[in-house]
C-alpha cells in the first residue's frame, strides 16, 4: 500500500513541476531579460527527473520486474527519457535548443499516461512468461530511449521547417524579391562554403536574416546529432529484439506488425542520414524526411498497439475512457 501511495505522490509532484517549468519558459519568452527563471527552471527539471526516477524505481521494487511491461509503464519511461535528454546537456554546461522541446514532451507524455484514456488502473501487473527474460531490460529500454531521441530530433527538424517557410512567407509578403533570393541562397551558400571564412567577413546581408540563418543552421546541426544518436539506439534496440525473439520464439524476424514498423522507422531515418551526405540536398529536404519520421514513430509506438494483434500484444489497450 505504501508503494502505491508513494507512486501517486511522485507522479503528481513530477507532473506539477513540469507544468511550472513550462510556465516559466513561457514567461521567459515574453520577458527576455529575466535570467533567474531559466536557472530555476533547470533546477525544476532536475527535480522532475529525480521524481520520475523515483517513480520508476518504486514500481520496480513493488512489482518485482523492470517497469516496462505495458503501455502505461512505457509512457512513464518515455517521459523519463525525455527528462534525461533534457538534463544531460545541462550537466555538460552547454546551453542547447532542446530544452523547450524536451520539457514539453515530458509533460505531454506523462500527462497522457496518467490521464483517463488508458483505462486500466495503473497498478503494477504481473509479467507473462514470455516477458520474463533479461532481454526485456535491454531491448525495450533501448527502443524507448531511441524513440525519445528520434522524437526530439524530428521536432527540431519540424521547428527548422516552420522557421524556414515562415521566412520565405514573410519575405515574399514584403515584396522584396532580392531579399527572398538572399535568404534562400544565403542558406545554400552557407552550406557550401562552410569552411570558407569569407562568409563571416562579408556582412552585406541584413543582420536579421543572418541571425535567423545562424539559428536554422544550429537547429539543423542539433537535429542531425540527436537523430544519429537515436539511430544508434534504434539499431541496437531492433537487433536485441531480434536476438531475443530467436531465443524465445525460434525466429529472429517474423514480420510482426511492430517489428515491421520499427524497421520502417529505421529505414526512414537511414534515408535522412543518407540525404545529409550530399551537401546540396541538406537543409529543408532532410528536415522533411525527419518530419515524416516523427509521424512514423508514433504509428510504430502507438498505432500498432491499437490493433492489438501480433506477438507484441502486451502493449495493447482499448480507448474507452473510465
Amino acid at each position: 500500500m505504501i508503494f502505491s501511495t508513494l507512486e501517486h505522490i511522485l507522479t503528481h509532484i513530477s507532473f506539477s513541476i513540469v507544468s511550472i517549468v513550462i510556465t516559466l519558459h513561457l514567461i521567459t519568452l515574453l520577458g527576455n531579460e529575466i535570467i533567474k527563471p531559466y536557472d530555476s527552471s533547470e533546477k525544476g527539471m532536475i527535480a522532475t527527473f529525480l521524481c520520475l526516477t523515483g517513480l520508476l524505481i518504486t514500481r520496480w521494487i513493488y512489482s518485482g520486474h523492470f517497469p516496462l511491461s505495458d503501455l502505461y509503464e512505457s509512457f512513464i519511461f518515455l517521459s523519463w527519457c525525455f527528462s534525461l535528454i533534457h538534463i544531460v546537456p545541462y550537466f555538460k554546461k552547454r546551453k542547447n535548443y532542446l530544452t523547450t522541446i524536451t520539457a514539453s514532451s515530458t509533460i505531454f507524455t506523462q500527462g497522457f499516461a496518467t490521464s483517463g484514456l488508458l483505462n486500466e488502473i495503473h497498478k503494477p501487473t504481473i509479467l507473462v512468461p514470455a516477458l520474463q527474460s533479461e532481454w526485456l531490460i535491454m531491448h525495450v529500454s533501448m527502443m524507448i530511449l531511441s524513440y525519445a531521441a528520434l522524437l526530439c530530433g524530428s521536432l527540431l527538424s519540424v521547428a527548422l521547417l516552420v522557421i524556414t517557410f515562415r521566412n520565405i512567407f514573410y519575405s515574399s509578403k514584403s515584396n522584396n524579391l532580392l531579399k527572398l533570393n538572399e535568404s534562400f541562397s544565403f542558406g545554400e551558400i552557407q552550406y557550401k562554403n562552410e569552411r570558407n571564412n569569407i562568409f563571416q567577413k562579408n556582412s552585406f546581408f541584413s543582420d536579421n536574416n543572418y541571425y535567423k540563418a545562424q539559428f536554422i543552421q544550429q537547429l539543423d546541426y542539433w537535429s542531425y546529432r540527436v537523430i544519429s544518436l537515436g539511430f544508434i539506439f534504434l539499431t541496437i534496440g531492433i537487433l536485441s529484439g531480434a536476438v531475443w525473439a530467436n531465443e524465445a520464439w525460434g525466429s529472429y524476424w517474423s514480420w510482426d506488425p511492430k517489428e515491421t514498423w520499427a524497421f520502417i522507422t529505421w529505414i526512414v531515418f537511414a534515408i535522412y542520414l543518407h540525404i545529409r551526405t550530399k551537401k546540396n540536398l541538406q537543409g529543408a529536404n532532410s528536415a522533411i524526411v525527419a518530419t515524416l519520421g516523427f509521424l512514423i514513430i508514433w504509428i510504430c509506438y502507438f498505432g500498432v498497439n491499437l490493433l492489438g494483434i501480433g506477438l507484441h500484444s502486451y502493449g495493447s489497450f482499448t480507448l474507452t475512457s473510465s
Binding site: 569552411r195 539499431t235 536476438v243 524465445a248 525460434g250 514480420w255 506488425p257 515491421t260
Partner: protein, 595 residues
C-alpha cells in the same frame, strides 16, 4: 591550349616586392637564371596556391567532363614546372568530391585526355605519357573486353546512385507498410470479400491487385524480394565505387607548410610564445595521434568514423545473406504433445526452401516426460515447463532437459522452444471406478486467456439429447464442474482426493493432463545473421565518431593551429579551445626550441 590564370586571388603576397620572385597574375613562374636558382619560398607558395585554386580545378573539371571519350585529344594546361606538382593528385579535403568523381569513372583512364606539363619537367610528363599510345592500341585489340568493362562501370555507377538508393528504401518501406495493412496469408475468398471489385478502395485497389502482385504474402512476394535484391546490389555498388575511394582519400594526409593555409581552415587560432612540441604533447594527451616533422605538426582523431559506414554496409549485406540462407535452408515445425507421449523430430520439421537438407539428428525421438505450470499468487500463469528426453535411433537417451519459455533445448543444430501449452485430458474416478481419461477441448483461446472444457455424459451416451456433467478448466490448477442442467456445482483441484457429488454421481478429479506446445527449428543462417547483427551494432556506434584533423606550424615563436572535423562541427571550437588552453606559454626566449 587552356589558360587558367590565377589573377590576383593570391592576395597580399602578390604585391610584396621585398625579394625578387617570378610569377604573375597569369600564373606561377620562377626566375631560374641559368637553371641553377632554386624556387624561392614565395614562388613555391604562389605555385601551391595556383595548384589549389578552385578556378583551376573547376574549369579543368568542366573541360574533362565535356570531353568526348572516344576522340583522342590532348589538353594542355599551363602549369609552372615544379616537381612539387605530383602532390595535386594526392590533395584531398575540399576536393574529395572532385577526385572521387574522377576515380569513380575510370573509363576516363582509357581516354587520351591528359595533363601535359610543357617545358623543363620531362619526368612529370613521362609518367603521364603511357596512357597516350597503349590505350589506343589496346582499344583496337581488346574492344570486346573494354565494352564489358564499360558496361560494368555504367551498371555500377547506375546502381551506386544515391537518389536511386533512397528511392529503393522508400519503396521497401512503403511495401512493408502495405504488408501490415493488408491481412497476410488468408484464403483468396477473404480478399474477394474484403476488397471487392465493385467498390474498390481509392477507386482502383481491388482484390485483383492484391492477388496478382502477391500482396497476400507480401514478405515473400517477388515484388518485395526483388526490391530487396536491388537494394542489396546498390549497397554493394555504393561500397565499391564511393565508399572505398573515400577511405583512400581520407587516409592520405600531408603536413601543411604555410601559415596562411592553416589560417584558412574552418577553425584556426595562433598561440604566441608557444612551442609546437608542447602542443603535440597536449594533443596526444587528448587522444589524438600526433605526427611531428620539423616545424609542422599533424594530428588526427576518430579516423574510424570514416571507415565505419563501410562496415555498416558490409554488415547489412551479411545480414541479408544470412537471412536468405535462413529462408532457403532451414526447417521448422510445431507440435502439441500431451504429457507422456513422444514424436520423432523428422516428422514435425518441414523444409522451408530448396537448400534445406535434413541431418542425422532428425531421427531423434523426443519424449515429453512431464508438463507442469507455475502460478502467481493471484492465480495467473507465471511459467510453464516441459521435461524432455531425447532418444537416438538406437533407443539410448542422449539428452534430458527441462525447458521453459525463454529457455530452449539445443541438440545438434535443432532447437526446441517452449511456446505454448494446452490441456489434453482429465483423469477422473467415477463412482470409485476408473481412472477414466476424458478428452478436453479448447473452448476459447485468446492469447494467454484460455478456456478448456470436457463433458462426462450421464445415462445413455448414444441418445441425441445427451445430458451430463460439464467441466471447465482455465489451467491445470482447478476444475469447475456444472451439473446436468448447467448449474454451477463446485470447484475441485486435481490430486486433492476430494470427491464431489453431482446428480447422484460421485466424481473425483485425479489429474489434469496438460500438453506442451513445442516449436522446433534448425537454422543454419543464424550464426551468419548474428555476426551481422554484432557488426552492425558496433559499426553504427563507431560511425558516430567525428574525424578531426589538426595542423600546426611553428612560425617563429608563434604556433599557428588550424583544424577541421566532419561531424561534430559545433562542439569542435570548444574542444579546440580547451586543448589550446592547456598548451603552456613560454616566457623566456631561451626556452623556445626552434626547428
Amino acid at each position: 591550349m587552356l589558360y587558367v590564370p590565377i589573377g590576383y586571388t593570391f592576395g597580399a603576397g602578390m604585391f610584396k616586392m621585398d625579394s625578387i620572385r617570378g610569377g604573375s597574375p597569369y600564373g606561377a613562374g620562377v626566375f631560374s637564371g641559368d637553371g641553377s636558382r632554386e624556387p624561392s619560398e614565395k614562388e613555391l607558395e604562389l605555385a601551391q596556391h595556383q595548384g589549389n585554386s578552385k578556378i583551376l580545378h573547376s574549369s579543368t573539371m568542366e573541360t574533362l567532363l565535356t570531353l568526348n571519350p572516344l576522340k583522342p585529344q590532348t589538353h594542355l594546361l599551363k602549369l609552372p614546372n615544379f616537381p612539387i606538382y605530383p602532390r595535386i593528385s594526392t590533395h584531398r579535403c575540399s576536393f574529395s568530391p572532385i577526385s572521387c568523381k574522377l576515380t569513380s569513372q575510370p573509363s576516363k583512364d582509357t581516354t587520351n585526355s591528359k595533363i601535359v606539363v610543357p617545358g623543363a619537367a620531362p619526368s612529370l610528363s613521362e609518367e603521364k605519357e603511357p596512357p597516350a599510345a597503349p590505350a589506343e592500341g589496346s582499344r583496337r585489340k581488346d574492344a570486346g573486353g573494354v565494352v564489358v568493362k564499360r558496361l560494368t562501370k555504367k551498371v555500377l555507377s547506375f546502381l551506386a546512385n544515391l537518389p536511386l538508393a533512397i528511392g529503393e528504401m522508400f519503396a521497401i518501406a512503403a511495401l512493408m507498410a502495405l504488408g501490415t495493412a493488408i491481412d497476410q496469408g488468408e484464403k483468396p475468398e477473404y480478399y474477394f470479400q474484403k476488397y471487392p471489385e465493385d467498390n474498390p478502395i481509392l477507386g482502383f485497389f481491388s482484390w485483383r491487385w492484391i492477388l496478382t502482385l502477391g500482396f497476400d504474402h507480401m514478405f515473400s512476394s517477388p515484388v518485395f524480394l526483388g526490391t530487396l535484391i536491388l537494394l542489396g546490389a546498390s549497397l554493394m555498388a555504393c561500397t565499391y565505387t564511393t565508399q572505398i575511394p573515400m577511405v583512400k582519400v581520407a587516409r592520405r594526409w600531408s603536413f601543411l607548410h604555410s601559415a596562411n593555409t592553416i589560417k584558412k581552415l574552418e577553425y584556426s587560432d595562433s598561440l604566441p610564445k608557444a612551442s609546437i612540441q608542447d602542443l603535440g604533447v597536449v594533443l596526444s594527451g587528448a587522444g589524438y595521434e600526433v605526427f611531428l616533422k620539423g616545424p609542422s605538426l599533424y594530428a588526427f582523431k576518430g579516423l574510424a568514423g570514416r571507415f565505419a559506414p563501410i562496415g555498416v554496409h558490409l554488415a547489412l549485406l551479411l545480414i541479408m545473406s544470412g537471412g536468405t540462407y535462413t529462408a532457403t535452408g532451414s526447417f521448422k515445425g510445431s507440435v502439441t504433445v500431451p504429457q507422456g507421449l513422444n514424436f520423432v523430430m523428422g516428422d514435425v520439421l518441414g523444409p522451408s526452401g530448396f537448400l534445406s537438407t535434413p541431418t542425422e539428428a532428425f531421427n531423434t525421438e523426443v519424449h515429453v516426460n512431464r508438463f507442469s505450470m507455475d502460478y502467481y499468487d493471484s492465480g495467473e500463469v507465471s511459467q510453464f515447463h516441459t521435461d524432455l528426453s531425447l532418444f537416438d535411433i538406437d533407443g539410448k537417451e542422449v539428452m534430458r532437459k527441462t525447458i521453459s519459455v525463454n529457455d530452449p533445448l539445443r541438440y545438434e543444430g535443432v532447437t526446441i522452444y517452449q511456446t505454448d501449452w494446452s490441456i489434453s485430458a482429465i483423469q477422473i474416478l467415477k463412482d470409485g471406478e476408473g481412472p477414466f481419461n476424458l478428452a478436453v477441448a479448447p473452448l476459447t483461446v485468446n492469447g494467454d486467456k484460455k478456456l478448456y472444457g470436457s463433458f462426462l455424459p450421464i445415462g445413455n451416451a448414444d441418445s441425441t439429447n445427451v445430458k451430463g456433467i460439464s467441466m471447465l478448466l482455465r489451467d491445470l490448477q482447478s476444475v469447475v464442474l456444472y451439473d446436468q442442467e448447467g448449474k454451477f456445482a463446485g470447484v475441485r483441484r486435481p490430486n486433492s482426493k476430494l470427491p464431489i457429488e453431482i446428480d447422484g454421481t460421485k466424481i473425483e478429479i485425479v489429474d489434469a493432463i496438460g500438453s506442451s506446445g513445442l516449436d522446433m527449428k534448425t537454422d543454419p543462417g543464424v550464426p551468419i545473421v548474428y555476426a551481422g547483427f554484432g557488426a552492425l551494432m558496433l559499426t553504427t556506434c563507431i560511425s558516430y565518431l567525428s574525424h578531426t584533423q589538426i595542423w600546426a606550424l611553428q612560425d617563429g615563436t608563434t604556433v599557428v593551429v588550424g583544424g577541421k572535423t566532419n561531424r561534430a562541427k559545433i562542439e569542435f571550437p570548444d574542444e579546440m579551445n580547451r586543448v589550446l588552453d592547456r598548451v603552456p606559454e613560454i616566457n623566456q626566449p631561451s626556452d623556445v626550441i626552434c626547428g
